[in-house]
Symmetry: C2
Subunit: 145 residues, 2 copies
DNA sequence: CCTATTTCAGATGGACTGAGATAC
DNA sequence: CGTATCTCAGTCAATCTGAAATAG
């Protein structure tokens, strides 16, 4: 699609502009991750476990924004790749404790580089100051301190 | 999901912030349109036909951002509702000419109000000046004059 | 008995692909 | 002939729902 061909109604609509940029953002990140065979959900999960340490799957769901049932499937996958570990919680046997492996950390650092490249290509038309400004406004709109 | 619980890596990532706001944007618009039984795709199509006048389906696809095959299905639907009209193009019989009906125009105006409400709730945490600023930056990022 | 967590099976809507039919 | 348009059938990943199994 060519954004310039869209009708005025849409080209001036904040929700539409945000949606279009989100499409480009997804594509930029996916293009960087695809050669490594990694999806955005997997990056979110690795980042969540890495930052907060061993977590239950409900916690992972809240932090990553993934649905509880999708966390099940992706953790399955990431355990299979040797990037996460899943063990029953001895304190509360309803829960699993998900933790990151050494190889998971290494992978995450590689992904960080890729994801960071995607940001640059996504925001290439903005100056550094404008990028900062955009980030500030997005965070404010999301009520993120 | 609660955005505040996300890891630092994501909370500072432009593509992630954009994606999160896009989710909220979708929900805000959907919530406004749902009582009328209308989807965003339908609004995009009505807006495209209204602005540019009678169009082929390929043109509609380029302008609305919908895939050619989805245009087929949505035009079917909108014709069924009496909001669009589909006729063979006498100049080029491969094409259809899609045009908006009087009832379609009326509907579109009602949708405009709804969609506009959604923008206000989406950007409620921003001042008017900040909303303008955000729109400017989004358009620049999308390389939209 | 009620609630929380994990898991599964499947529904849903959106974006996309490939091929056939028709017309240029 | 090759190409453009419309149409259909169907895949695909992402999101979400409901209910079962287990444990607190």
């Amino acid at each position: 699609m060519n954004v310039d061909d869209a009708p005025q109604r849409l080209r001036t609509l904040p929700s539409w502009l945000i949606g279009q940029l989100a499409v480009q953002a997804r594509h930029a990140v996916d293009a960087e991750l695809e050669p490594l065979g990694v999806r955005r959900s997997q990056y979110s999960l690795l980042a969540s476990v890495e930052q907060f340490g061993p977590s239950s799957q409900v916690e992972l769901s809240e932090r990553s924004g993934l649905d509880r049932s999708d966390v099940v499937r992706w953790v399955d996958d990431l355990v299979g790749r040797g990037w996460l570990r899943r063990a029953p919680d001895p304190q509360d046997r309803r829960r699993n404790v998900i933790s990151i492996t050494a190889r998971g950390r290494t992978t995450l650092r590689a992904l960080d580089t890729r994801v960071s490249n995607a940001q640059r290509s996504l925001l290439a038309t903005l100056s550094d100051a404008q990028q900062e400004q955009l980030i500030r406004l997005l965070r404010k709109a999301l009520a993120l301190g």
